[in-house]
């Protein structure tokens, strides 16, 4: 490409580098702001109508939404202040990534190709929900989906809602639902109080965050929402629609004591056991992945600046390992410094200097995070909830018994299970079923995570028609350098 993008920057070298960030959550926004502050023009691509990501989704539910100060609004404000350098393409999805990197994008105006010198992937994470009896009933959803209904569409997910799973996000969503008048009948957390106690030394490493946690808990108490710790939802019941949820106390391995189970009548269950990093972009970009013991398992391998094994391709935020919004924002700053340094607009010593306080803060947060991760780390009981007839792959309607039969016949990797059962062959490409499935293969002692393998994502990442692909990019001129055409983003 010889097109020289006209921008207001004066970077070193004859041509402005073409910088593309995918994802406008905390990591993507922080990267964009860091780069813009260093005089670089960037294009941010996001599927939502507004920047913010899942955590800082716009508009916020209510102004009094406690106890987080609206960090999202502050980041959006910074983005807007740099609108001369930051172009935000909202409503755009990445379809494919070709070497270069060249991104296939699908937006309101159709399909197009965008070339980049540096690509920063900040796609975030999605919720982890392993299969359990009744989980496919209408009325069962993730806490994130419920939050999105309330925030984006002003729709209450139900009348009587139970939240279940693990982690502080349950408390956040419970409060958000309570505020719009939804009756939250309780929060069921697998974590036992004594498990939390052992993590206190880590959690005390960050008083501010710990206080925030306590504020959530006291907010929940004040709202009169019962918090049931050391319990697990073992099944959802109803005919064509959720009628009740069965809850049982569980031990430290999250194995339920069925003899003490009891029903709770609700019309909505919001269930989530933490988050799975989105690795589809990294995989299409050809980045090396490594297994972890967190939900989803696989994350891109990066250097200390967030650069992946593919030069010019960077990863930041929860997509590079789930650690929450605050860490994501700091990681975005680091990647921004790394990219700026690669582009030659800051010297490496200056990048190091600017990075040092960020890294120091990340180190502090790291201790706190490890405590949280340890508390929320998945236990074997979770992958034993599904019974023989439970659907484990919703797209292809594959039941646990079919998967078990294939496993006994020797299909002990995600790839061979897919061949044998069609698990993961549907539109979601295994996003929903494969993290839980690989966890179960691991718990069954079939294979190591390396052997079980990551899900294999293939383009297109979002639905496109043959007609769109047949007509796509007819003229080579359609290829546009990122940042060439600034699009006015209405101030949020």
């Amino acid at each position: 490409m010889s097109t020289n993008p006209s921008t207001s920057t004066e970077p070193v070298g004859s041509e402005a580098p073409r910088l593309v960030i995918v994802g406008a959550g905390p990591a993507g926004m922080a990267t964009a702001i860091t780069l813009a502050e260093r005089g670089l023009a960037v294009t941010v691509v996001d599927q939502n109508p507004h920047p913010g990501g899942q955590i800082y989704r716009y508009p916020a539910v209510t102004p009094k939404s406690p106890p987080t100060p609206d960090r999202g609004a502050a980041l959006r404000q910074h983005l807007a202040e740099h609108s001369d350098r930051i172009t935000v393409l909202t409503g755009h999805n990445v379809v494919d990534i070709h070497p270069g990197p060249r991104l296939g994008l699908c937006g309101p105006d159709g399909f197009r190709i965008v070339e980049a010198d540096h690509l920063v992937m900040a796609p975030g994470a999605y919720e982890y929900v392993p299969p359990f009896p009744g989980w496919t009933l209408p009325g069962v959803m993730t806490p994130g989906a419920a939050q999105q209904l309330v925030k984006s569409q002003g729709v209450a997910p139900g009348r009587r809602v139970l939240l279940a799973g693990t982690g502080p996000f349950l408390l956040v969503v419970a409060l958000a639902l309570h505020e719009v008048g939804v009756q939250v009948v309780g929060i069921v957390d697998t974590l036992r109080r004594r498990d939390a106690f052992w993590q206190l030394p880590s959690l005390l490493s960050d008083g501010k965050l710990l206080k925030q946690g306590f504020d959530y808990v006291s907010g929940v108490r004040k709202a009169g929402i019962p918090l049931l710790t050391g319990h697990i939802v073992t099944r959802a019941e109803g005919h064509e629609r959720l009628k009740q949820v069965v809850v049982a106390p569980c031990d430290g391995d999250w194995i339920p004591n069925h003899s003490r189970s009891r029903p709770i009548v609700v019309d909505t269950l919001c269930v989530g056991y933490g988050f799975v990093p989105r690795i589809d972009l990294a995989q299409l970009a050809g980045c090396e992945l490594a297994p972890t013991n967190l939900p989803g398992g696989w994350i891109p391998v990066t250097d200390p600046w967030g650069q992946t094994s593919v030069p010019g391709v960077w990863a930041a935020g929860d997509g590079a390992g789930v650690a929450g919004a605050i860490v994501a924002e700091l990681a975005g700053q680091l990647v921004g410094l790394g990219v700026a340094s690669s582009c030659g607009v800051v010297s490496s010593s200056e990048a190091e200097r600017s990075a040092e306080p960020v890294r120091e803060r990340l180190r502090q947060l790291g201790r706190f995070r490890r405590g949280l991760d340890e508390m929320g780390s998945l236990r074997p009981g979770l992958s034993q909830l599904a019974d023989e007839s439970t659907v484990v792959c919703r797209c292809e309607e594959i039941r646990r018994a079919e998967v078990d039969a294939a496993v006994s016949a020797g299909s002990t990797t995600l790839r061979s299970l897919k061949v044998a059962t069609r698990l993961g062959m549907g539109p979601c490409q295994g996003r929903m079923c494969q993290p839980a499935c690989s966890r179960r293969l691991f718990d069954l002692g079939c294979n190591t995570p390396e052997e079980i393998g990551p899900p294999a994502f293939r383009p297109p990442l979002v639905p496109l028609t043959l007609g769109q692909l047949a007509g796509a990019d007819e003229e080579p001129d359609d290829v546009e350098p990122a940042g060439a055409k600034p699009v006015a983003e209405p101030a949020p």
Binding site: D96, H98, P99, G104, I113, A409, G410, T413, R415, S416, V419, A420, R422, M425, P427, Q429, E451, G453, R458, P459, P460, P463, L464, T465, L466, G467, L469, A470, A472, D473
Partner: protein
């Protein structure tokens, strides 16, 4: 570290490797299959077309290959035929599928999804193509059927097909399977018969002592064996080289497009000079396939996918509004004469090829595997393997 030896090591776990493993294991030969998944294996990107005559006379994906090779306008590409001996090989291999499907299902419970429709239907877009197809029809020996259909007859058979064609050429009995299930069924059948499967290793080197194979090396580990079967697909040439054998196998990339699952739309396997289409058991339509010499690059390209989608929408206009579920690519094991490479190699005892399946690897797999096993145990082969020996390239 050296492990206990085995009779035969099979290097490669695609459809051909697993099929050969089964044919050996059921003859009480001790077999170790060695395979680690590498992206791009041809089995994973095959349409599963069983088009023996279609491929032999060049009306399957061969015509696309021809169009690419000659650089001619794909709308007017003219097919080239493979030797009659190989056509008969493919026909014989294809004939075995119905019985094989039953046998494998009884043994393993795996359904290879052998589906019969009207046949392989080549859509003729120009008068020149029609002339060539007429010529092919005249050249086929007694017993072969190639029906020439008018555009109206094509419309009756396949209402979804575009009417702006000169006509159709139908090869009845040319059907399809699910190539992944075929490979899986063969693998399980081999395991049932006592074969072992090492799924996380590659054969890095074939070990020789003078003029005989003595084992294989997989990373740090070596395994002694009496025979090594090279079933390494597009990688067969690289593997052969470790034993000092020159094998002219080259990766030929094929990009494919898979639609979302649809209600029955096309009953035949359709072929044009820019793509072929087969609706699979679960409703998805597989559109293939580019033929590109790009080394071991398994990526998809904008041009490649665009060409296939245009071809598909040109043949079946209703596909324009159909969603694409996935696009990906596989590497066919290409050979200079488009025929497989089978059997032993002079001067290297214990080394056996079952390689070079190119664009007919699925339909040829049953017979390729069978004659390979027969050669190893010393049975009279069902079909002579002389035309397929690697030595043919030395002349």
């Amino acid at each position: 570290m050296t492990s206990r030896g085995v009779d035969v090591v099979i290097a490669g776990g695609g459809v051909v490797g697993h099929a050969t493993a089964w044919e050996l294991a059921r003859r009480d030969i001790e077999v170790l299959i060695v395979d680690r998944h590498l992206p791009g294996r041809a089995t994973s990107a095959s349409a599963g077309g069983l088009w023996p005559v279609g491929e032999a006379v060049g009306l399957g994906c061969g015509v696309i290959y021809q169009a690419t090779r000659t650089g001619s306008d794909s709308g007017d590409a003219v097919p080239a035929s493979l030797p009659a001996v190989f056509r008969d090989f493919l026909v014989e291999s294809n004939r075995r599928f119905p019985e094989l499907a039953g046998e494998l299902e009884d043994l393993t419970g795996v359904d290879i999804e052998l589906d019969s429709g009207p046949g392989l239907l080549f859509l003729m877009q120009t008068a020149r193509q029609q002339a060539v197809v007429d010529n092919i029809a005249r050249g086929l020996p007694e017993g072969f059927v190639l029906e020439i259909l008018s555009p109206e007859e094509v419309g009756e058979l396949e209402p979804a097909v575009c009417r702006e064609i000169v006509g159709g050429a139908l090869l009845p009995g040319e059907d399809q399977v699910n190539p992944m299930m075929l490979a899986e069924a063969y693998k399980r059948a081999a395991l049932v018969n006592g074969a072992r499967f090492q799924n996380d290793r590659l054969v890095d080197e074939i070990l020789r002592e003078n003029d005989r194979v003595v084992g294989v090396r997989m990373g740090e580990e070596t395994v002694a064996c009496g025979h090594v079967v090279n079933a390494a697909g597009a990688w067969a040439g690289q593997l052969a080289a470790t034993a000092g054998i020159t094998l002219p196998v080259e990766p030929v990339r094929g990009q494919v497009v898979l639609t979302q699952a649809l209600p029955p739309l096309i009953a035949s396997c359709l072929s044009t000079s820019s793509c072929y289409l087969a609706q699979k058991r679960h409703g998805e339509i597989l559109v293939g396939s580019t033929t590109e010499h790009v080394g071991f690059d398994t990526g998809v390209t904008e041009e490649g996918i665009r060409g296939l989608c245009r071809g598909a929408v040109g043949a079946v206009p209703a596909l324009a509004d159909v969603g694409v579920k996935r696009v990906w690519a596989g590497l066919r094991p290409g050979t200079p004469d488009e025929m497989p490479i089978l059997g032993p190699v002079a001067g290297v005892d214990g080394y056996v090829n079952v390689a070079g399946g190119f664009r007919t690897g699925i339909v040829a797999a049953p017979l390729m595997a069978r004659v390979t096993a027969q050669a190893i145990v010393g049975e009279t082969p069902d079909v002579a393997i002389a035309p397929y020996r690697a030595e043919r390239f030395e002349e």
